[in-house]
Symmetry: C2
Subunit: 416 residues, 2 copies
């Protein structure tokens, strides 16, 4: 098995050198043929998916997980759409990012190019298979996929359909690879192939991402969790603040860009908290407040120290009253996850101070943290979100899947 993984990675690397030179129109043609093939083979995909669903039901998996596993006509249609959307995105490869003319006459161009081979490690949702193949091919990268065991039949089927398509195109078939085995040993093997794999992107729960982050010798782009904050200043439009906080907590609580802690300036707290907390409670949100919050709104649970760094992914909210913008900033930098944080204020000065001082990927003035997302940012599709500061930060789209090279034009220059 481990020899197979090395051979697979070697083939992916070889193919990446060819793929890097394939034209935009050939790549887009392949993506559109892939979309067609998914639709044409939907009966096959659905029957393979049934095997995974049956196994999941036998294993008594949670309904939420089973829901994520399902492939039906609607979902297959969405997968095809995503491939077509990806084909329609601009091709960044070959773009001249900068030109430097040197006193000795050398002309140095910084030219965008693919990274090479990208490894994607993911859980349950089978659409990730086609979405990531699309994004990697568009950006000129070979991709090695390793999906979760609960979706193994669905993933293999999607992969087979897409790989068959490549035979009709100039995209080398070996540029997409899937590791059949779903065990951790094969993952560990993959994470050590520094000679052939240039980047690893894990998608899934915190446990998977930590395992990848702690065991990879290849660079990893990741976020562990999203402990997102909204700070309501005394200079806020409080009605706007209420709507933003409600949206950030309630609209989809199980995702990384949902709010987990609400901070309120002491001068706004008495007016804002009773109304806001009542609205939250009516929506089923459990509030955990600090001493000052509980002095204003009675009968709510006390927040403990361990609440501040917690990602609830649920209808639970920690609330704290702060004395100043500085205290809010310090709280976020201490307990946050460097993902997404909002200030609600009408003051440009306050917002700029917040933007300069909070060490997070995405900072908002007067908008919900829920907008941290590749589609919402206009990046087209999304590979994931990074809270790292190296290579790519925030939503990772096609651009995050590129590197660059310097091409230098001389007339015989030598170094003296």
């Amino acid at each position: 098995m481990s020899n197979n993984i090395i051979k697979m990675a070697q083939k992916a690397k070889q193919a990446s050198l060819i793929l890097a030179t394939v034209s935009s129109s050939e790549k887009n043609k392949a993506l559109k043929l892939m979309a067609k093939a998914l639709l044409a083979k939907s009966a096959y995909l659905i029957s393979e998916n049934k095997k995974d669903l049956n196994a999941a039901k036998k294993a008594d998996y949670a309904q939420a997980l089973i829901d994520r596993l399902v492939l039906n006509d609607k979902r297959i249609h969405e997968m095809a759409e995503c491939l077509i959307d990806t084909a329609n995105l601009p091709d960044l490869i070959g773009e001249t990012m900068a030109v430097y003319k040197r006193p000795n006459g050398l002309v140095i161009k910084k030219v965008r190019c693919p990274i090479g081979v990208v490894g994607i490690i993911y859980e349950s949702r089978p659409n990730v298979t086609s979405d990531c193949i699309g994004l990697c091919l568009k950006s000129g990268n070979s991709v090695i996929l390793k999906g979760g065991k609960e979706a193994v039949n669905s993933n293999n089927a999607i992969f087979k359909v897409l790989k068959d398509v490549l035979k009709m195109t100039k995209v080398p078939a070996e540029s997409i690879q899937m590791i059949a085995s779903t065990d951790r040993d094969s993952m560990l093997k993959m994470l050590g192939l520094t000679d052939y794999v240039d980047l690893i992107v894990p998608r899934g729960g915190e446990a998977l991402i930590r395992f990848v982050g702690e065991n990879s010798r290849i660079p990893v782009i990741k976020h562990y969790k999203g402990v997102c904050h909204t700070y309501v200043s005394h200079k806020a439009n409080l009605k706007m603040a209420e709507d933003i906080c409600f949206n950030a907590k309630v609209q989809r609580p199980g995702v990384c860009n949902a709010m987990e802690t609400m901070l309120v300036h002491k001068q706004a707290a008495k007016k804002f908290l009773p109304v806001m907390i009542e609205r939250f409670q009516k929506a089923g949100v459990e509030i955990r407040g600090d001493v000052k919050t509980r002095a204003i709104v009675k009968g709510i649970k006390a927040a403990q120290e361990e609440d501040w760094p917690t990602e609830y992914l649920d209808l639970i909210l920690a609330v704290k009253v702060v004395d100043s913008l500085k205290e809010a900033i310090d709280h976020i930098n201490t307990y946050g996850s460097r993902h997404s944080d909002t200030i609600v204020t009408e003051s440009k000065t306050e917002a700029e101070e917040f933007f300069r001082s909070v060490d997070s990927a995405c900072l908002y003035q007067n908008a919900s943290t829920r907008f941290t997302d590749g589609y919402q940012f206009g990046f087209g599709a999304e590979v994931g979100i990074s809270t790292d500061k190296i290579h790519v930060r925030g939503p990772m789209g096609i651009e995050g899947l590129t590197s660059y090279k310097y091409t230098v034009y001389g007339k015989g220059q030598v170094r003296s």
Copy 2:
């Protein structure tokens, strides 16, 4: 000791949040005061350096290493100059890199910001201490330095002088840190501090860099070695090719951007090789040729398979005759180190094919590989050279020490 390193890293992280908000003029003031202090304290620096030199002589270190260790008035002057040059570079922090206006009215700005805390691990040359402190402060990053044991007194002295200066400035003194211990255990400890250190840059020999790359849990920017090629096409100006090859091999053979293998098209070989090889031999270069090279020039050593991926760092050159541009490209992609490679040709088509297909950081048409260098590229100072494809590739200047954040301006937008 290991608790000390954690505390040091925590202080560096705390300081980085303040440093990120310090103005350009305050940072530049600190850099200029540092330059003055080095000059004012040169007698102290030279006397501390003497201790290292005496120890090195006792330990019978190679003369080349002792040469790199020496601090004298000239070198201290160069260190001061480097700090002033760094002060005079533009400050990239706060720069708006892109603006996206979304249909819902959100305005998303991509704003350049510091990375946070950068760890620099280096060997022997004491000027790295002040150069890297300068580059990190300029780019708003805290820095944790870990130098080699042979320069411990010199490094500590430089560090002390520079740290004292910060007390007179708005740059927090804790933003520069030095790990006093020079053993591998303290390095290992540092390489695991993912909560406080954002990036590691190792500078030194391949053994050090491999140790760091294989043991770090923090992202590492690096290059292991430079196996650089020059390909002389049959469409080359052969006189120009001769000068470029000679410069790339002979001008400074011990560095990573020197040429290690010369590839020559078969149609140019008979005319080019005898003249070129004679010139190399006169300069003391040992030639190791493939069969076809030895058929043209008699009496030279045979190149073995293990010559092709070797970084000699010496007056030795592997030579191979190839049948085509494609064979040259394949050879470089197979045996090269993705560092710097040159094609000598008058044909734009050939050069573009070479640029598109060779998977290296820096590609040249008609110039010496020796130009791969931050100063030569016009990036001001240089932290190092990257053959990775993540974050930064090629010469790493100030820009490579930056990240970005997204600041989003809303008017109450929520996600539906």
